[in-house]
Assembly symmetry: C2
Homo-oligomer: 200 residues x 2
DNA sequence: CACGATACGGAACAGTGTTCCGTTTGCCAA
DNA sequence: TTGGCAAACGGAACACTGTTCCGTATCGTG
């Protein structure tokens, strides 16, 4: 396996220098465009920023979603890895869960339009959706399980639901009259009520 | 003044017959298109359904949002009017609030793409957003106030936040793995915790 | 240094919402 | 009944998306 990999890796060891350079430039340009115009920044704008043609973007990133994933991959990975770490810190699982959700919310609210894109039913963003889910659902599930086992939250909620709900609540953060983080806290607080809903 | 008004009203009492007919046809066609393709149904599709040109749509409804508002106005009004009614029914304000939210969720989840459009930062849907807010925020505020006064929910939550949060949670209902109604229940349950979040 | 594979640029395509204006049509006065 | 004109219509055209395609330029190697 290692032989085959290194062999094929030797045969096509590295892309042409200009290609590698362009890919890096493109990632920077996209990141900058996402900050100033949101993840919906027009492809042509990103190409112009990077000083390349639009064809070059599509050669490196088959679809917009792939570009978005590439730009945010590091941060998503960091978030995913933070889950087990928080859980291992020794505190109550519910606290770890709340902290992790907070991390996730921080990530989403600082990326203008990302939450919207994530929930978009546009087939274009399917890849994006899938990547986030693949990477984060298991982590979230682990935290939920721990908290449920400890009896701290109701046991009948899925990681998918929580992630999606939290992601949805982050849509439109940026509006000063809308505090996404607070509503997420409310939702997570609701999780902590094992019995019937309602007061008293 | 009254003379001028009634005079001008008399002078142009009703639009031309074909115009009135087309407006009605258009509303029907749009409603049908929204059901089968969501509120994002292409303008050309709606025009084709109604058997008119796209120009005719824009003459009657300056923007897509106006068309959407016109189609759903009746249901939004009904929802708005249900608020005071539920509150007057004599039960606990919190129960009335929960029932009203349920009504709102019912409305949103049955309109494919409406929740998405409502939270879209697209300037096109500004009118839509504004209409829903104008009409429903006061109703929601009344219910929240009543429940807060009764000590049934925390008093520090605004109607705008709740409506927006609930609206956001309704995005993507339709996915079988995502139960929007349940998450809304969780959120509303979180509302019922006047003290600090978290278990015990 | 020359040649072939690789990568590039941007025109072209398909699909949006919206605008614009030549043509048709309904209505009212004569 | 009919003439005329304001109102309304249809749909081509525009501006803006994402995406594809291919002639051209460039890189790296023998």
């Amino acid at each position: 396996m290692a032989d085959i990999d290194s062999g094929s890796a030797r045969r096509t060891p590295r892309k042409r220098a200009d290609a590698r350079r362009n890919e890096a430039t493109l990632l920077d340009a996209a990141a900058a465009a996402f900050v100033s115009s949101g993840v919906d920044a027009p492809v042509r704008d990103i190409a112009a920023r990077a000083g390349v043609g639009v064809g070059t973007i599509y050669r490196h990133f088959p679809t917009r979603a792939d570009l978005v994933v590439a730009v945010y991959r590091h941060q998503v990975e960091a978030c995913a890895e933070a889950g087990p770490t928080l859980l291992a810190n020794g505190g109550a699982p519910y606290v770890a869960l709340a902290q992790w959700i907070d991390l996730f919310v921080d990530f989403l609210v600082t990326k203008h339009g990302l939450a919207e894109a994530l929930q978009s039913d546009d087939a274009t963003f399917e890849t994006l959706h899938a990547y986030f889910l693949d990477r984060l659902v298991p982590v979230c599930a682990q935290l939920l399980d721990a908290a449920a086992t400890a009896g701290e939250i109701r046991p009948d909620v899925t990681a998918f639901e929580v992630l999606r709900g939290v992601g949805n609540l982050c849509i439109g953060a940026g509006d000063p009259r809308y505090d996404a983080r607070r509503l997420v806290e409310l939702l997570i607080a609701g999780l902590g009520q094992p019995r019937t809903a309602g007061p008293r």
